[in-house]
Symmetry: C2
Subunit: 511 residues, 2 copies
């Protein structure tokens, strides 16, 4: 009978306070099981612990229960159930976030969406595909292998694509292909009360595309058909039809609804790819070289900066042999013809800034080895001080301000006596400082906190943002207020209250 | 005393019904004058009539009063006054809209923002500038002349840039430079109750840019520095800090607040420009050629289609001599070197599709004459049947669907016995049919209505949108519902209610 009531077959429960954590209503877990099936619901401590944290230093806050819906109808039914009973809901993809986005600070139910893993509606002509939350970026790119298309947004971790949409992720390829924002075409969202929303309307999946050809009819698409080609234009679907709901849900960090399917914009696999590494005499020289490369219109696909501490850590961790100097990792995409030009230009500019000769890697295996070293930067940094924790900052400034902020941040690190290798998507003005510290040492922990606050404010003072790609989550709510101002925050709160009037969707995050 | 009360120095007025039009409260106009100064308020019938319509066929619905604020503080004070007294507010820029967006369907006060015309914060290094609503796109480009930068979004009319942001406008250059959406960096908004909001935070003005250089130090910026260059990447400011309020207000058509300043993304003036015209044996051949040009990665800046009726009308109206055949107008931007390559590719593709040899215009005067003919299409169409009215439809489909929808629409026009020259930004999949009809003829008016509904639904059936750039306004509310679905519309309504709880901002539009 109680289960029936909870399932909405009888009257609804009372309202829940905004901030209080209280136990689930009686028989609520039974009601979850009735919807999802008993094997797809767990209240085991280990499972809850595992779902109460991401890869950041934020403390674990386990949910009261974890449920694994298998289709969108179940998400809707489960959400409606939680809504009626005033139980908080937290969406969970791969748990690879860096700002505590999945911590269940008010308890409630974690929706682990990893078993919804369908890839559908691949439309090669329209360069789009739809993915459910269980699909990671690597799984999608495996699926696409034969199509000649790929999805380039790459935050390092093999994250859920819907999770990447939820945080507004980006990563190493954003300098050329854009962040998640322009690469999401449509979102199927389950609203907090269980209703289903398509942000661009049901079935709408186009963005207008350009700049690609399929030489000689069927077969893989390539960029530019062998000629110098424009960079893909990362832009929204052209439409003036009502409010832009897609942009509102991208970056909403699970606070407005569940992203249960994302229609993504795909890109043609480049005809040729080369990667390269060059060492520089100073941090400023490496960053100045980046600015020059961008201003000279070299359409780099990736341009990543690692300071000497980071390079040393990566060399040791990944077994690549690199001099411990400020270093740029680059990748160029294009036709064979255009790559030769890009390589020439890049080498010329690197030489001007005192960079070493580039070591070019053209074979996939060699390139993968290089990028694995870059992608393992986080673990390489952690290995600098075994037993310590890592915290990755994430600021972004106009590219012209980048040399100054990087140099100043290095000095601040030194003065603060902290271990913090620098690594960043410098082509976007975006960089991270991976602080490695002993959480048992209150003095060091305080210095880390003070340092990260100073770094955030330094970025804001340079017209930058306190988060380029990790999101606000738990950790950056105070900085968000400083960045956007009181009225913008109030407006975001009004939107949140309008779409989630009971404050049940991932409560305590962002706002 | 009454004025004091209205100014908020005494208790507020009662609530206003959502749909009723009722007279202004007693002494309200006096209160407006007390804020704005008597010369800046008018209730003259002719002035109200002039502000109650745009360039569309929607009937005039005059506001009860027109006020010309001179700065943002006055907009705030006037909005707060209207809000307290439950008086509807309608923002007005240049009145060049095409979907009845400025009609005061519930009466109230028209805020004519044309006297706020400051251009500020030009930051050449960061490619941004801030404009108030009185600044039109031509005025901005005059201002920018010496900087080497320009603002490319060009809907034809010399519209207010803030008005263009409000409708999500685009136009002829969008195929290369994007629509308003990716070109707006930040918006200063006066909310309905008078509070001030900066959508990306106060003072934040950057988007990360790339692909430009300033050869030899100071002097104008050029694209690509003489080398083949990537198209500018039109994308949002990289930030994961909270909800994307900028994207929410772009395209909100004055229903959420007053856009009192827009920070815009500028682009470098291209080193060289050529324009050209080519005639084709059939509509399908011209549209197919467009698709080929885009797929071959020619980075066209403009590619516009005119059918034979439109070309004939433009020839007569503007005194240019063009054969009355389906025609493409093109413009290419780039370095001298890259233009030669673009011209060669374009000519080759046009020839493949049976196009005539291109007539290339390199001198500014010659180009301007050509584009004036294109930009006067609306007036040229009206001149086809003097005394009649025009209605410009506006649909957009994935580029692969374009040939079919254009051919089908031509057939429908013929079968419906309507005069409707076709013209469009075909590079975006976006086109217009300018229907010229006698509004006194009820049968013809009905056929126009039926035809436009069919066209909108034809676009929706092809995964397109019912409006690529004109907005929803009054005319497309029913189609919006069909496009986005009931839940998306409900979500938009919740957002509207959250930000404008009294439904006073441009009521009756969009939703």
């Amino acid at each position: 009978m109680a289960v029936r009531r909870l399932l909405g077959l009888a009257g609804a429960g009372g309202r829940r306070g905004c901030c209080a954590k209280r136990p689930l209503p009686a028989d609520f877990v039974e009601a979850l099981r009735a919807v999802a099936g008993a094997p797809h619901v767990s209240t085991a401590a280990a499972v809850r612990e595992q779902h109460g944290r991401d890869e950041s230093v934020h403390s674990c806050a386990p949910p009261d229960a974890v449920v694994w819906p298998r289709d969108v109808a179940q998400v809707q039914e489960l959400a409606a159930l939680c809504y009626r009973c005033d139980v908080p809901m937290v969406p969970f993809g791969t748990g690879t976030g860096l700002e505590g986005g999945v911590t269940a600070v008010q308890g409630g139910v974690c929706f682990d969406l990893s078993r919804m893993d369908r890839i559908s509606e691949l439309r090669v002509e329209d360069f789009t595909v739809a993915v459910e939350p269980g699909v990671t970026r690597k799984a999608l790119n495996s699926y696409l292998r034969a199509s000649g298309l790929w999805f380039p947004v790459d935050p390092g971790a093999d994250a859920s694509l819907c999770g990447m949409a939820a945080t507004g992720a980006s990563g190493t390829n954003a300098v050329r292909y854009g962040t998640m924002r322009p690469n999401v075409v449509n979102l199927r969202v389950v609203l907090p009360d269980g209703r289903l929303l398509h942000t661009a309307g049901p079935g709408r999946h186009f963005r207008y595309r350009r700049g690609w050809s399929r030489p000689g009819g069927p077969g893989p698409w390539v960029q530019g058909g062998g000629r110098p080609h424009p960079a893909p234009v990362a832009r929204g679907r052209k439409s003036a039809a009502g409010y832009d709901l897609t942009s509102l849900f991208v970056g909403s960090e699970g606070t407005l609804g569940f992203l249960t399917r994302a229609t993504l914009r795909l890109h043609p696999v480049p005809e040729a790819v080369v990667a390269a590494v060059s060492a520089f005499p100073s941090v400023r020289a490496a960053v100045d070289c980046t600015v020059s490369v961008l201003q000279a219109a070299v359409p780099v696909a990736r341009i990543e900066f690692l300071d000497e501490v980071m390079v040393g850590a990566c060399s040791r961790y990944s077994g690549v042999e690199l001099p411990a100097a400020p270093t740029l990792f680059l990748e160029l995409h294009g036709s064979q013809h255009s790559l030769a030009e890009q390589v020439r230009q890049t080498e010329e500019l690197a030489r001007l800034h005192g960079g070493s000769d580039f070591a070019w890697a053209q074979e996939a295996e060699e390139r993968n080895r290089l990028w694995a070293a870059r992608h393992n930067a986080w673990y390489a940094a952690l290995a600098l001080r075994p037993g310590c924790k890592g915290y990755s900052t994430d600021v972004c400034v106009p590219i012209s301000r980048l040399p100054d902020i990087v140099v100043e941040t290095k000095r601040d690190l030194e003065e603060s006596g902290l271990t913090g290798p620098l690594v960043g998507h410098v082509g976007d003005g975006n960089f991270h400082c991976i602080l490695i510290f002993d959480p048992e040492d209150p003095d060091e922990t305080r210095r880390v906190k003070d340092f990260t606050d100073r770094l955030g404010r330094r970025a804001l003072a340079l017209d930058g943002t306190c988060t380029g790609e990790h999101g606000v989550g738990l950790g950056k709510r105070a900085l968000l207020r400083e960045e956007v101002g009181e009225e913008a925050l109030a407006t975001m709160r009004h939107i949140k209250a309008a779409l989630d009037p009971k404050n049940l969707m991932n409560p305590g995050k962002v706002l």
